[in-house]
Amino acid sequence: MTGTTCRRAGARLTGVAISLTILIALTGVQSSCDLFTAPDNGGGGRSLPESTREILVLHSLAETLSTIAIEQDGALGTVDADVLLTGAVPNDLVRIGPLLALVVSGENALLTVNEDTLRLSRTIDLGTGRNPMRIAALVDATDLPVARWLVAVTNLLTDTVSIVDIDGGTVVAEFPVGPSPQAVRALPGADQSQIRLVVSNTNFRADRPAGIPYGPGSLTELVLEVASDGAGSPVVGLGSSRTIELEEPNYDDATEAGINPGDLVALPSAGELLVVGSGVNLLPGGAGADDGTVLVLHIDTLDILDRVSIGGSPARGVLRTDATDTALYTAGVDGIRRLVRYDTAGWDSPTSTDAALFVSAGAMGSLFADCLVVGERLYAADFAGDRLRVLHADTAELLETTPLSDGPIALLRDDES
């Protein structure tokens, strides 16, 4: 082949290559117009009719809210996934009046959502740098001297609790509490204009010794005075505030982890408020102290009545009450534990079989983020496994499992607030 022939062949090849390149480019541009825009992920409200009974699931990593229909027998029905986009790191939700209120930690925001449609109705800015964690509906607004729906939100990074007027979309007050507050529970006050707010303070400190970042744990009790400003807007003042220390007298702050009170569970019928504390969490592989604790407090005086060591480093707790007894299910690092309160004998000893591990997280070491009980069924959100497990609340038999969106963190029953 001569040089001239080669050059001609090269020129032809070059022409072919250019034509092919342009063709590929045009095809790419034509077919990729949709690729420049975000796909439609839904998130605009329910895509299925509202079920008579359902569980709402908040997904911390998917940043969405989903619903799961519950059949009459308690079996899981259709999942309506990711019906609402929440923003970064939603952590908790509560029902208040006709609305849902969602705490979105990464956005420093509170979302209000119409429960019928599950569409966003309002975004309330809680303020930069607060990192809101948990929420509680203040007692039924009809009991207050102002016809407004109010919620309390704990702010982890500012050591405060914000009182938010859901109707007005404003933060009406913000009060200091203890360090690193997490759980919050509203209780009736002495009269209709008062609300008692109990906040658990985990006292997380970055400069504490490695591995024991919490402590000492405490509660803050706020007595809030609620009034109307005359124009119908709420005015919330602080009547009083006090701190309840939760650690044992011989607690050594320098060497021990605190109780890390992650949840508050009210049992008004027994006159008790339960504090669920993880202590220092178990390390991967099970190493480390296993000092999960349930504190039993008098619901009015907040005196510590009992200190039950249950292990399992629980983060959340839920109650189930039947005709005679009450059981506290705690979701923790190694699974779900059950602690029984016998009507006549009080809370069971942790050494009995009832306090032992109820449901093991299994070899995969799933992290149960939240659980709730409906009838005989225990619904447990498996954060790491992205699924909801349904268990028999008496036998622990695994009845059902359904996959969920990324990072289910909080559950809400349709009749629960």
Binding site: I18, T158, N281, P284, L367, S405
Partner: protein, 641 residues
């Protein structure tokens, strides 16, 4: 405290990695090798920094932003940190080198390219796809920053003085001053260089977004660097040697995000790097080169007002490396082998003292033929067997290049690679929310790529078109997952697949506007970066990876040295979470630049330049909660003598 440890190997190698592509700079842009008539190897783009300087670029990040396959994720103004991705990778999977030596550290595995100025840089080589077989790192690709070579004695001989130098100053939006100066003495036996630079950026700036005025606090800093170098290159001597000492210091704010600002957090860095090299050329076809380097990075982070208690960390990372490389050329065959060792030890307030020793042997060979019409084929193969962290990790890279004629070339590349876990991933101490995992395996990658490149108008190459299609698979990806204790820890649970298409073109328009020569660039890429990990994210686009991007530019160049340029980039929507429920909006960013050469006697070149980024003040967000603060204007001057 463990002192520096020097490991020097004694090996044979090809030309050191820093010299992997030809040496001389060119006036043409991307995709060119150093000489106009020479193409860069398949899979590689070479950016002559002089071309980037014409557009007012000041940092490596600004110089490579428009290269297909490269994605930059900004976190505010151009002074604030930038994350780098290559073809849908993570930042940790990209190796950053200076003259072939890694500046990616074992601690975090991330290099902020917004921190590296263009001063004293001659060109930037970008290789896409795994390059471990060539460089010992880079599961997804590498950026090699090649230092400018001082003028040789021949060019100095024609000058009145053996001294040459440069100076540069710029002032930009958000209160940013940058200055650099350097001088080189080229003697008959030795070339000596001295260079220094500094940055002063205001600690807070105001900007308007969504109709509201905002203030970004604690986002500035001050930085300084000093560099000394000596070499006897260009002498044609049997024995060549070089040495360089670099000192860098910086104190920067760490502003956090809008949602969670950290107005008192400060990062202090002190870095010292000493490199030594020596080479011998016993004959025209054989060479032997030994290199050694010592690096020390001391980093201190303080946030005394962190809401959950004061944060502080202090890290002292010391690295010593050495390699011996040799190559033999004969006929159509070129072969070489590199033996290398690198030892890193870290003293950390939290992690304690941790070390890592890596030793490797890396043979390579190439066969090449040429044809009478300027075409030919070349087959290159490289392998590396590395022992590190009590593991043997192999990697290979093979490149087949076929040019039927001088103006057309096809390339086929297959490669495997890996990314070693960082010290943070391995040894992060138990905290409230995170804990490291000492049992991590390296991430693994494998890729195949086909590339076609056409150049027209030889020898000036008035038009170039490059198209590449690739497939990259990742296994054992390190993902931070919530453990049963609620703490997040890294695990080798992820897999991913990235498929993509890149097309870029460059045409010199055959019209003349007086003496001005117009040139247009175009680029388009599709990236399907898919999470294939079992579970709810299977099939989803990896976070922050756009599925499509397009861009183009127009440059008017005057032979005296003036230039005008516009460049636009349209970036498609990017998901911000693994399940792809939330996406950042697509955006169009337009940049403009102008440079004028002043006819001043006594200096070789004197320029004034102006660069405007985000010309139309598009309110885009590159990283969630880190919005672009708006139009940035930089004006400056540069002189060379």
């Amino acid at each position: 405290m463990i002192g520096f440890t020097v490991l020097c190997g004694v090996f044979l190698v090809a030309t050191p990695p820093g010299r992997s592509v030809a040496q001389e700079p060119t006036e043409t842009v991307v995709i060119t090798a150093t000489a106009p008539e020479e193409m860069a190897p398949p899979g590689t783009t070479v950016i002559p920094v002089e071309e980037a300087r014409r557009t007012g670029a000041r940092t490596i990040a600004e110089a490579i932003a428009a290269v297909p396959g490269i994605a930059l994720q900004f976190s505010g103004s151009s002074y604030e940190p930038v994350l780098l991705r290559v073809r849908g990778s993570t930042s940790e999977q990209v190796l950053v080198l200076r003259d072939g030596r890694p500046i990616t550290d074992s601690y975090s595995g991330i290099v902020d390219l917004a921190r590296i100025p263009l001063d004293r840089v001659e060109r930037i080589e970008i290789t896409r796809g795994p390059v471990n077989a060539l460089y010992g790192g880079g599961a997804a690709g590498m950026i090699n920053i090649i230092t400018a070579v001082p003028p040789g004695p021949d060019s100095v001989a024609s000058s009145a003085t053996p001294w040459s130098g440069h100076g540069r100053y710029s002032y930009g939006s958000f209160g940013e001053h940058r200055a650099a100066a350097g001088a080189t003495f080229t003697g008959s036996a030795l070339t000596l260089g001295l260079a220094a630079g500094g940055i002063l950026a205001a600690n807070s700036y105001d900007y308007d977004r969504a109709g509201a005025s905002r203030t970004r606090e604690n986002a500035g800093g001050r930085e300084a660097d000093l560099s000394l170098s000596a070499d006897n290159h260009h002498r044609g001597a049997l024995l060549e040697g070089d040495a360089a000492l670099t000192l860098e210091g910086s104190r920067r704010g760490a502003p956090g995000s809008i949602e969670f600002p950290t107005t008192s957090a400060v990062v202090d860095d002190q870095r010292l790097a000493l490199t030594l090299g020596a080479g011998i050329r016993p004959g025209p076809a054989t060479s032997l080169r030994a290199e050694g380097d010592l690096q020390r990075l001391r980093r201190r982070f303080d946030d005394p007002e962190y809401p959950l208690g004061a944060l502080e960390s202090e890290t002292d990372l010391r690295t010593a490396g050495g390699e011996l490389a040799g190559t033999v050329e004969g006929g159509l065959l070129e072969a070489g082998v590199t033996l290398s060792g690198r030892y890193s030890v870290i003293d950390d307030l939290e992690l304690g003292q941790v070390d890592r020793l890596t030793v490797a042997v890396a043979p390579r060979a190439a066969v090449e033929t040429t044809t009478a019409v300027g075409g030919g084929w070349r087959l290159e193969g490289a392998g590396r067997i590395e022992y590190t962290d009590q593991r043997v990790v192999p990697s290979v890279r093979a490149t087949l290049s076929w040019a039927p004629v001088e103006t057309l070339r096809f390339g086929l590349i297959g490669a495997t690679g890996y990314r070693l876990p960082t010290f943070l991933e391995l040894f992060q101490p138990v905290g409230a929310f995170v804990v490291g995992n000492p049992n991590l395996d390296p991430e693994r990658s494998a890729s195949i790529e086909a590339e076609a490149m056409v150049t027209l108008g030889a020898p000036d190459r008035h038009a170039e078109i490059r198209a590449a299609a690739y497939l990259v698979g990742y296994e054992d990806l390190i993902q931070w997952l919530a453990g049963p204790d609620g703490r997040w820890s890294p695990r080798n649970t992820g897999t991913a697949r990235v498929r993509g298409l890149e097309i870029e073109s460059r045409f010199e328009i055959p019209i003349r506007l007086g003496q001005w020569k117009p040139r247009i660039d175009g680029r388009f890429e599709l990236v399907q970066a898919t999470d294939t990990t079992d579970g709810v994210t299977d099939g989803k686009q990896l976070p922050y990876r756009p599925r499509a991007a397009a861009g183009g530019g127009l440059v008017l160049a005057h032979p005296f040295g003036h230039s005008l340029g516009f460049d636009m980039e349209y970036l498609g929507a990017r998901p911000v979470n693994a399940q792809n429920t939330d996406w950042l909006a697509p955006y169009l960013s337009i940049d403009a630049s102008a440079r004028a050469r002043l006819p001043v006697g006594g200096v070789e070149e004197w320029y004034l330049f102006l660069r405007v980024t985000n010309l139309v003040d598009e309110p885009y967000v590159s990283t969630r909660y880190y919005p672009n603060p708006g139009r940035e204007i930089v004006a400056g001057t540069e002189v060379r003598w």
